[in-house]
Symmetry: C2
Subunit: 310 residues, 2 copies
């Protein structure tokens, strides 16, 4: 049987890695031959999760067309966030919860996107639609994805459906979501031993906004001042990335996961777009965005619209 | 409650019109406020269907942003096939069975596409997922859409799922699918009283293929020679459309619905793309494509790829 590769976005986060593993499990249960793979290094939070629920780290790949005729994308659809040679392979399916952009096929496909907080919430529906039972550890992986994407249910991206899904999955996985979740987020916020370059690329995505290419990175922190003390080194690395990738703007959001605010460091020729978008003045390239924790809901749309209307 | 407009593509076909009506019924049953509308004149086949199952003709609109904050697209996603002001309105949902192209949102949405033969087949699943009963006439509309899109189950786009859905719906609607289906297709193939200009725009769609804009129209016929006798007038109209819309290519497929072949009339500066795609020589702008009945599966992908690789 032909093998299908399943993978999430570059700079993988917990939802991307676990969704590849979980959906491959479901596909194999219903008679396909699917292998989960990843497009980058896994972060500390995901390591904690895979270790806790005894899941193997998916194989690292850079190109996919040489080893599969068709692929399944989870947790992303935008081409620049996907495999480098995504143009050369047939995309058979997409399971996602992001905006749709820079995505195009020449043939019909299975595309399932819902405006929920996490890919795992959609995967739970697919298990039910296919009448496949969810093993304990698979449920644990899915619960972890929801906790990660929703910052323990505090992000505005978190919907009633995500919360209900998490409750159901916590029961199957037999863990206390609050306690396990905090341990997991803390493991992810541990930046000891990370270089500044690693720090800003941990959870970073590139977006096309009109004619502009914008990178938005996010770092979760228990104590944001720990990250902000590296400000001048960070700025240097952002400037480097701006030149290398021809970016109009680079925003690094340092998200306080206990207080649910983000401090942003902004660089690039179009830094003023951020000031206009949030109606604020950057102070030495920095601003505090009260209550902002979601890149997808509270940063990407407003910057996209501000670029469009400038 | 805020109203959502639901509509299919321009030059509406039976699946587009009935899917708007059917999905609006479902949305209203589950507590939304939705109105089906249409972006163009309905064809003879659809008239037959709406009359048979006593459904109202949806209201005609050209622009949508002035009367709704959000819309739902059925049976299409490509911008150039949608409302003229689709850029100015939030797309809340898409239910479709076509390739994804020229589609982009700034926020996450509900996007449900499956590689089946008809939008109605997906809608049947949604009724089940929401546990809503399907009334007799609504089932009749959905059955009609499947028969129309699959040319009475003979198109290569028709899947096992479409056939199973049609059987289920025929039972609810209490009609004989074969007999009703043939009557319906014949009503649609009646070109008496149509001008050549009406004929070529009955079921016509515009596609972007690389840097080229391509229009592909389809006319169903019981007796193709009846249409082909109008060849020189048709060519004149195609040439007019090519200039007006700046097309690289216009293909009119005259589909013999009893023998399941299509005769194509080809015009435009890139007519040779068609010769290359199907490895044939056009004879006086005409060629017979044996076994070709599906624009979506047997024309659009091969032309897209040939334009890409030229
Ligand atoms: Mn996610
Ligand atoms: Mn259709």
């Amino acid at each position: 049987m032909e093998k299908t590769l399943i993978f999430g976005h570059k700079n993988p986060d917990t939802d991307t890695i676990t969704s590849a593993i979980v959906y491959a499990y479901l596909k194999n249960e219903i008679g396909s031959h699917a292998e989960p793979v990843r497009l980058g290094e896994i972060n500390e939070e995901t390591k904690f999760v895979l270790n806790y629920f005894q899941a193997e780290v998916p194989r690292l790949v850079n190109k996919v067309a040489t080893e599969a005729d068709s692929v399944i994308l989870v947790d992303h659809n935008e081409r620049q966030q996907s495999a480098d040679d995504i143009e050369d392979v047939r995309i058979a399916e997409v399971i996602d919860h992001h905006r749709i952009s820079n995505f195009e096929t020449s043939e019909p496909l299975f595309f399932r996107a819902e405006p929920v907080g996490c890919t795992a919430t959609i995967l739970l529906k697919l298990f039910k639609e296919h009448h496949v039972e969810i093993p304990k550890n698979i449920a644990g992986l899915m619960l972890s994805a929801i906790i990660s994407d929703s910052l323990l249910f505090k992000s505005p991206t978190c919907t009633e459906e995500d919360i209900a899904a998490a409750e159901e999955l916590a029961q199957i996985a037999n863990v206390d979501a609050q306690q396990y979740g905090l341990d997991m987020l803390k493991a992810g916020a541990d930046i000891s031993g990370k270089t500044v370059s690693q720090l800003i690329s941990l959870d970073s995505k590139v977006f096309d906004m009109g004619d502009h290419r914008v990178e938005i990175a996010q770092v979760n922190a228990i104590d944001p001042t720990e990250v902000l003390s590296l400000k001048s080194d960070i700025e240097e690395m952002l400037d480097l990335a701006i030149v290398e990738k021809n970016l109009s703007l680079f925003v690094l959001a340092v998200t306080d996961i206990l207080n649910n605010d983000s401090t942003i460091i902004v660089r690039g020729a179009h830094a003023s777009i951020v000031e206009k978008a949030y109606n604020l003045s950057l102070d030495n390239n920095i601003a505090l965005l009260k209550g902002v924790v979601s890149r997808k809901k509270q940063i990407v749309p407003i910057l996209t619209d501000t670029f469009k209307n400038q």
